[in-house]
Symmetry: C2
């Protein structure tokens, strides 16, 4: 499982001059300009950035998102039912559409999160019968998946199913129907509905539970024919970095299905850790949670080890760190930038990994027949010589012809 | 869920004299002589008792099993592959058959335990490929289920599946095939094979894991069409009595499938408890483990509360306490009798529950047309008057006619 060879491909390119003759002996630059691997982050701020009227605040968020774009090609947008449709029948489709389009315009792939979850759910559902809650859940999926088709083609269909029917912190509509239907029937139903309205979308199941409970659930779902495309694994590590051993164990546990794995919600903090005795992280309520210099070093080093371990695993296709900036969920110092947008060591570390260690830039000379051989990390490339260039995708071993223009 | 009303049935009996005329005004005794509810215990000693040559030791075991019969109507016999077929091709069919027949002759229902398990498995399987291990597992099921059909019609088909593929204390054949096939496919395969050779047998899945992992596994298995008749729950409480709260939680978790529940392996000790930090009970190796007077009081009281809670739950159909006598597994003081067969308070407590509290004995007078009405705990009854009698089963509300003879 080691090494990054599986992240690379080789291409034999016949380089042609603008007049379509072989560019014999031409000196060319091959620069990777995008990644196939999904380096992701929460992109919730794009929603506010699009909407906000205050010019100063808007500029601040634009600065933040520009820094975000310096690292990531993949963003998660919030579709929590309770926030997205706070008042029944008035979904914030426009706000999310603007955010999604801004990301796409900036070459960022977008995932919607989540279509079904017991937390952050709509309060107004509670007045309905279980039958009607399920009906509204499916209508919600139809409406939102249809509206965003072609813009958002990747969905966290359902979130945290392991605990869903047992969740007892407060009454909510989704726990009610999960308790009645059972986990497998509910998951099967919401996946089928999502697939129905966007058959080509990439559909994830997502959970923070990484024990054999989640593994057994996935096995049951696959046996029941649920079209899970990707296994989503949360890794909020507010209580301390898992370490390589646990990471390897989790990878081993969930790779036995042969399905792609996404680390969907990663957190590593650059300050104090939440004590072990806290079971639900939401119970950790603090006034402030400072980032410290030692914490920032630690965070950057843990990021490096974790991202490297995951990038080297053949089934991992995406890693999303949850917070881009400090002070979001639980006020944690969990970002790549401070609250004032200044860069942290983790930002520099990630930039080095993504844009140096795992990115290919080469200078090559075409042979007498115009051929060059390039081996590089999968993604988009620009081949250039002086002011002439051509772009291509390197996702598998291939032979291609490229005319510079 | 409270009370024991659901354990009872009512019958209107027309009592007839031997000459087949209504026994008008006859005074009769109705005595329950057997229980529908399965009060079970490990019956491994019947295997040794049948085989042993030493007369004194045999008499000692016979005395033990006579005391056993004073409480129980349901026994578990050991089919651990490693012990049952220590040498490939030489299964101890005869030994187990003798034991099973002795139990049946004494009106005891017998369960075989287990057909597939990673622990106590045959060493000689390790030399085979996974394909051959599975083949031999299925042949073993065919052979043993067929041989005992009509004698043993209740099987723990597979044991401890939650941990099965992750079990890493030592290499074993069953973990190997479970890892390769996945839990659901293996369970499905061994259940199908058992069903094939004894379609009317009662088939159990059994586990010590009582978390949502086991619940999710069962849901997946049922969705996959595995013919589970009974959910088996182990409750070895060497580390202390669960208490009513946990018992209620476990009952709630596993009753949502609507399937019968058996408590298959119950232990409550009458001495020191194994400390909390021990995870695998097999790691607790002691020279001696004494039973204490306070421990015996505690054990009897815990037995009373636990059996009462389970007996009152409509889906529980059997409770098996694992050890009849002290000094068996882990040398624990876990029995109803001491090692010398002397009775412990838990024995007296169980006798009172089974043969007084939950057993019906009534005196009734037939009306002018010979009718009596009886409401009692489900099971077998003897109706008698002087030296004339008749037997009947009371398992549901009914009207019957009985001729005394």
């Amino acid at each position: 499982m080691n090494g990054t060879e599986h992240r690379k491909a080789e291409v034999r390119i016949r380089v042609m001059d603008p007049d379509n003759t072989p560019a014999s002996g031409l000196r060319v630059k091959a620069d990777q300009i995008s990644h196939k691997f999904l380096f992701g982050c929460g992109a919730f701020d794009t929603v506010w950035m699009q909407r906000i009227e205050d010019g100063e605040r808007k500029a601040f968020l634009q600065d933040r998102m520009n820094k975000w774009l310096g690292l990531f090609n993949y963003g998660t947008l919030p579709f929590y039912w309770g926030g997205y449709e706070h008042e029944e029948g008035k979904p914030n489709t426009e706000g999310l559409m603007n955010a999604a389009k801004w990301l796409i315009d900036n070459n960022v792939k977008v995932k919607g999160h989540p279509l079904c979850w017991h937390t952050a759910c709509a309060e107004w559902l509670l007045k309905y019968s279980n039958e009607d809650i399920l009906k509204k859940q499916l209508e919600r999926i139809q409406r939102d998946v249809t509206a965003f088709k072609g813009i958002i083609d990747m969905w966290d269909v359902i979130n945290e199913v392991v605990i869903m029917p047992d969740f007892d912190k407060y009454d909510n509509a989704i726990t009610r129907i999960c308790k009645e239907m059972g986990r497998i029937k509910l998951v099967k139903t919401v996946f089928a509905e999502t697939k129905k309205y966007n058959p080509d979308a990439v559909l994830l199941i997502n959970d923070f539970n990484t024990s054999e409970s989640y593994e057994i659930l996935i096995e049951g779902l696959l046996e029941a024919g649920v079209p899970i495309d990707v296994i989503g694994i949360q890794s909020h590590q507010h209580q301390g970095y898992w370490g390589k051993e646990k990471l390897d164990r989790v990878l081993e546990r969930f790779s036995r299905f042969g399905l792609p794995i996404h680390f969907t919600e990663n957190t590593l903090v650059s300050g104090d850790l939440i004590p072990e005795y806290i079971v639900d992280l939401n119970d950790w309520q603090v006034e402030t949670w400072p980032s410290t210099p030692e914490g920032e070093e630690r965070q950057a080093n843990e990021m490096k080890e974790m991202y490297t371990t995951l990038f080297e695993h053949p089934l991992v296709e995406a890693i999303t760190t949850w917070d881009f900036n400090d002070g979001c969920w639980l006020k944690a110092p969990s970002g790549f930038v401070h609250e004032d947008n200044s860069l942290k060591p983790s930002y520099h570390m990630m930039k080095k990994l993504i844009h140096e260690t795992w990115e290919t830039h080469e200078e090559l000379t075409a042979d007498a027949d115009g051929y060059i051989n390039l081996k590089g990390f999968k993604g988009g490339y620009k081949l250039s010589s002086g002011d002439k260039s051509a772009e291509f995708e390197l996702n598998e071993n291939a032979e291609i012809t490229l005319r510079l223009a």
